[in-house]
């Protein structure tokens, strides 16, 4: 008999909340930055003092439109904000300003690559809203930090087009890449500026109706999203296969036990009582503004990936790795601009040396490694054979620490490769002279000794001679 898992398919939709990269909050002038001391970035407006009013941050609207355009959404020239009412200590006004019936962006899709091939995940909408503060429970008391209150968010809602945990992961990674590419968000889950809720249901394969869904919250890493989906899908299939029913519930992911658990119904039984926010006029986005933003859009990850494969003859894997972060891809292209002929060498260098340093130091790319033009100059020396690949690695490590230029570092460390044929020929002569016995053996047919002579010459040249030239000259002289 076919196992139960083969008879069912999962139907998954994701709701992603991500902070927009603005300097100030959505409705007041307070800094939106992460990391300040508790309640340092607050004012009467984001504290919900009596009588205060919201004023919309234009930059946030532009970033949301950028995201919408990147995800192929249609941008609404007219949208309105709504109040979403619920009581919670971190929600200072007792309502969140959000968008309900008329989101800023409608439709759209994200294309993803999966082990089963390319898939398209359609979007329902992208809307703007403000974030809430943060409750902190310590020493038996509860405190609230309102720094995050009013920070601009977009909520990106997918259609239930996702069929597996793997696809969900691929979707989230692509979404995050796009957000970072267009400069809309940093997309960092660990700082809470990229959050994800998951809706999961299962149904018999071939069915057209949806099963009853479970909503899973508290997922703060991609790995948790994948694990939670896998867990929940298995749980639902098991329940259905045993003749059980799935109640519509909200679950919390417990990362310690690696399982989802239903929340108490009291925690989510909300009637949000949406109605249009009377303190904000309707948001009108002129078609010209949308066009201006569209024209200024950077190249998107998918397009860049395709271009890297096409123009630089890179593999799909290499192109994907290089384009995952916009700054890495930018770095790679800036290196090429230094006149490098061999793109594979440059690509390998970025994927190994550059990313290794970035990973090791944990610093942003720009702080961790030399400017791309200098790295490009360094690799150019390898290409022109004035530097060996090993010497280049030594120089690169030094440059990362000192911030020196390629030329100065190679000079200071005495790494320049000698290609002077006269000097190399002299060294070869000396070795042949002092190793007469071995030379005789070689000439008698012991080819293996060639490497031994190369080593001797290299040693004599202090390790800086161009090995290719040593090979040529030595071969000629030994043959003579």
């Amino acid at each position: 008999m076919e196992p139960a898992t083969e008879k069912y398919e999962a139907v998954i939709g994701l709701e992603v909340h991500t902070h927009l990269l603005t300097r100030s909050k959505l409705f007041c002038g307070c800094a939106a930055a992460f990391g300040a001391g508790p309640n340092e970035n607050v004012c009467p407006v984001c504290m919900g003092m009596p009588g205060v009013l919201p004023v919309l941050n234009r930059r946030a609207v532009e970033l949301a439109i950028r995201m919408g355009l990147a995800a192929h959404c249609s941008i609404s020239e007219y949208s309105i904000f709504d109040r979403k009412s619920y009581f919670y200590p971190d929600l200072p006004k007792g309502y969140q300003i959000s968008q309900y019936e008329t989101p800023l962006c409608k439709g759209g899709y994200i294309d993803i690559a999966t082990s089963g091939g390319a898939r398209r995940v359609r979007l329902v909408r992208i809307h703007m809203e403000e974030d809430a503060g943060k409750n902190i429970h310590q020493d038996g008391t509860s405190l609230v930090d309102f720094n995050r209150s009013g920070v601009p968010l977009v909520e990106i809602v997918s259609e239930p087009d996702i069929r597996s945990a793997e696809e969900a992961g691929a979707y989230l990674r692509e979404l995050r890449n796009i957000l970072r590419y267009v400069g809309a968000s940093e997309g960092r889950m660990e700082e809470g500026n990229f959050r994800c809720d998951v809706n999961v249901s299962v149904r018999p394969k071939g069915a057209t109706e949806f099963g009853t869904k479970t909503e899973i919250k508290n997922l703060n890493s991609f790995r948790f999203v994948e694990k939670a989906i896998a867990y929940e899908v298995a749980r639902q299939i098991e329940t259905l296969a045993a003749g059980g029913r799935i109640p519509q519930e909200t679950h919390l992911w417990d990362p310690d036990r690696e399982e989802t658990r239903p929340m108490r119904s009291k925690e989510f039984a909300n009637d949000y009582r949406y109605f249009p926010e009377p303190d904000l006029p309707p948001l009108r986005v002129p078609a010209e503004l949308i066009e201006r933003i569209r024209t200024a859009m950077p190249e998107l990850p998918a397009d860049r990936r395709a271009r890297f494969v096409r123009d630089f003859a890179l593999s799909d894997y290499e192109a994907a790795l290089l384009t995952e972060e916009r700054e890495v891809a930018d770095y790679f292209e800036a290196m090429l601009a230094a006149g490098l002929g061999n793109r594979k060498t440059a690509a390998n260098w970025v994927m190994t040396e550059v990313l290794r340093v970035v990973n090791e130091t944990g610093s942003p790319l720009a702080d961790a490694v030399p400017p791309p033009a200098e790295t490009g100059r360094l690799l150019k020396m390898v290409e022109e054979a004035t530097l060996s690949l090993n010497a280049a690695k030594t120089a690169f490590a030094a440059m990362c620490k000192s911030g020196g230029t390629a030329a100065a570092t190679v000079g200071e460390l005495g790494l320049v490769q000698v290609s002077d044929e006269g000097a190399i020929a002299t060294a070869c002569d000396k070795v042949i002279e002092s190793e007469a016995a071995n030379v005789a053996e070689y000439r008698a047919g012991r080819d293996k000794l060639f490497g031994f002579f190369v080593g001797k010459v290299m040693k004599l040249m202090g390790g800086k001679a161009n090995p290719k030239i040593i090979n040529e000259i030595l071969k000629r002289k030994l043959a003579g």
């Binding site: 205060v52 009013l53 919201p54 009581f87 009377p278």
Partner: protein, 484 residues
């Protein structure tokens, strides 16, 4: 000469000529407050020390000459305006000890021109009421008859002006809260076009209806204060960028050829005969001055109160959610959040506020939104269109401000629906976002003032002020100050 009885126009001349000082003027008002407050209860907080300090600063400015019109003028401020460093209660127990860190834009503007704030005026809690009986600090009494209400919700502001405790006052008007108390207390009160004055820092009751406006002893004074308040505010996205005219210059005294619309739906059953008589007499007087009256129809008038009590309460249910005991204001501790909210709000809010929060919450609930809130918004559109159509045949509209004069304290508290009818003539004007004012047009047989409401087209403040000023200056009625 009792300085507190001066109008702004009179005081401004005397101050400019240095015949009186701002400190003298302020002290006169503070003395008057000290004399009357125990009987009137027009103020929640009197700011004697701060007012004298402000007057001293104003005197220095006046000394140098060229000071703004309101420099050194003592004003009462409805306790709904956030005043930095001065307790702002909104007449609610829930904000009994709340001292805001911010100034309302209107307050900031008046501070900048050197106005003096003698105190925070009493009101219905969160501006919900028509009599100032819904105040956690006790009802304000009408200066014409201490057994009667001052009207509401800005009853303290109206009474303070009528009783000469200040020269003018700020109120707010969501459904008639400036015009009805102005009518009951025999003073001038104007609610400008929605968006004409910033709402920033004015504690919100119903955001799409609330509007700021002045009370004054004369139309001219109201025009002077309004000019300082009106205009764009970067803190209020709903505030109009339209340039602000010099309202005082609109007061030409000339109403010749002006077409005054008289809505047939506004002379209703239940209206006091003396009120109707006084309003009809005023209209006849306008005709003698060269204006023309034309009958108009506002066919959706009957639905206004119902629409108002859905829209206003829906917005209020959200606006008042922030009073949760977490960040400021009253907190009644409990074991968990839900219980803390329940106890805080149960203790902190009065009965009428709770009633309206519940009404609004219900109107917005899942499954009821379309039938109530959405339907009410449609009615609102119809009411706005009624006025648009009416203004095709007239320049201003004249009606009674309220169907009755000030009623007895306690007379309507047991019957909220009766109380709601006090605003039957004013509410439509808020729903349509129009400017409206109330001015005295006579007194009933008990000596209680009767109010005439004049309504303008959007941003038609100049027209209604001109019409009101012309009437006032014509000597059609002899003003009778309260005997208090």
């Amino acid at each position: 000469m009792e300085l507190c009885r001066l109008t702004i126009a009179e005081a401004r001349a005397l101050l400019a000529r240095r015949e009186i000082s701002a400190v003298e003027l302020t002290r006169a008002c503070l003395d008057r407050i000290a004399e009357l407050e125990r009987r009137l209860n027009a103020f929640i907080t009197v700011c004697a020390r701060e007012a004298i300090a402000q007057a001293e600063v104003a005197d220095k400015r006046l000394e140098q000459g060229g000071a703004p019109a309101l420099c050194g003028i003592p004003l009462a401020i409805k306790d709904i305006y956030a005043t930095r460093g001065v307790r702002t209660t909104c007449a609610s127990k829930i904000l009994e000890k709340f001292v805001p860190p911010h100034d309302a834009t209107s307050i900031a503007k008046l501070r900048a021109v050197g106005a003096v704030f003698v105190g925070k005026a009493n009101m219905d809690e969160f501006a919900m009421g028509s009599s100032t009986e819904n105040s956690a600090f006790g009802a304000t009494r009408n200066p014409y008859d201490l057994q009667r209400v001052a009207g509401g919700s800005s009853g303290g502001s109206a009474a303070a002006v009528a009783a000469d405790e200040c020269l003018a006052a700020l109120g707010t008007d969501t459904g008639g809260s400036i015009r009805e108390p102005a009518s009951f207390c025999g003073v001038v009160g104007i609610k400008p076009t929605y968006s004409r004055v910033s709402r920033y820092g004015v504690i919100a009751y119903a955001s799409s209806l609330d509007q700021v406006g002045p009370f004054a002893k004369s139309v001219r004074d109201a025009a002077i204060v309004l000019r300082e308040l009106a205009g764009i505010d970067p803190r209020d996205s709903t505030c109009s960028a339209r340039p602000v005219p010099d309202y005082e210059r609109a007061l030409t005294g000339d109403v010749k050829g002006m077409r005054i619309g008289v809505p047939r739906e506004y002379f209703v059953e239940g209206m006091e005969a003396e009120v109707e008589g006084a309003v009809r007499a005023a209209l006849r007087h306008y005709e003698t001055m060269g204006a023309r009256t034309v009958e108009i129809s506002l066919p959706h008038t009957d639905y206004a109160i119902a629409a108002y009590y859905l829209i206003a309460t829906a917005e209020a249910s959200a606006n008042l959610a922030r009073y949760d005991g977490i960040r400021y204001g009253l907190r009644v501790p409990a074991d968990n959040n839900i219980e803390l909210y329940n106890r805080t709000r149960d203790t902190g809010f009065g009965a009428e506020v709770k009633r309206r929060i519940m009404l609004g919450t219900f109107a917005l609930s899942a499954g009821y939104y379309d039938a109530y809130y959405l339907k009410a918004q449609k009615v609102r559109t119809l009411i706005r269109r009624d006025f648009e159509r009416a203004f095709e045949t007239c320049d201003i509209i004249a009606t009674p401000t309220a169907p009755t004069t000030a009623f007895k304290i306690g007379e309507k508290t047991a019957d909220p629906l009766q109380m709601y009818l006090s605003d039957i003539f004013t509410i439509s004007v808020n729903l349509a976002g129009l400017p409206g004012l109330s001015m005295p047009c006579g007194y009933d047989s008990h000596g209680m003032p009767i109010g005439l409401q004049i309504v303008g087209a959007p941003f038609g403040e100049e027209a209604i002020l001109r019409a009101a000023d012309a009437y006032e200056r014509s000597g059609a009625i002899a003003r009778r100050p309260p005997a208090i």
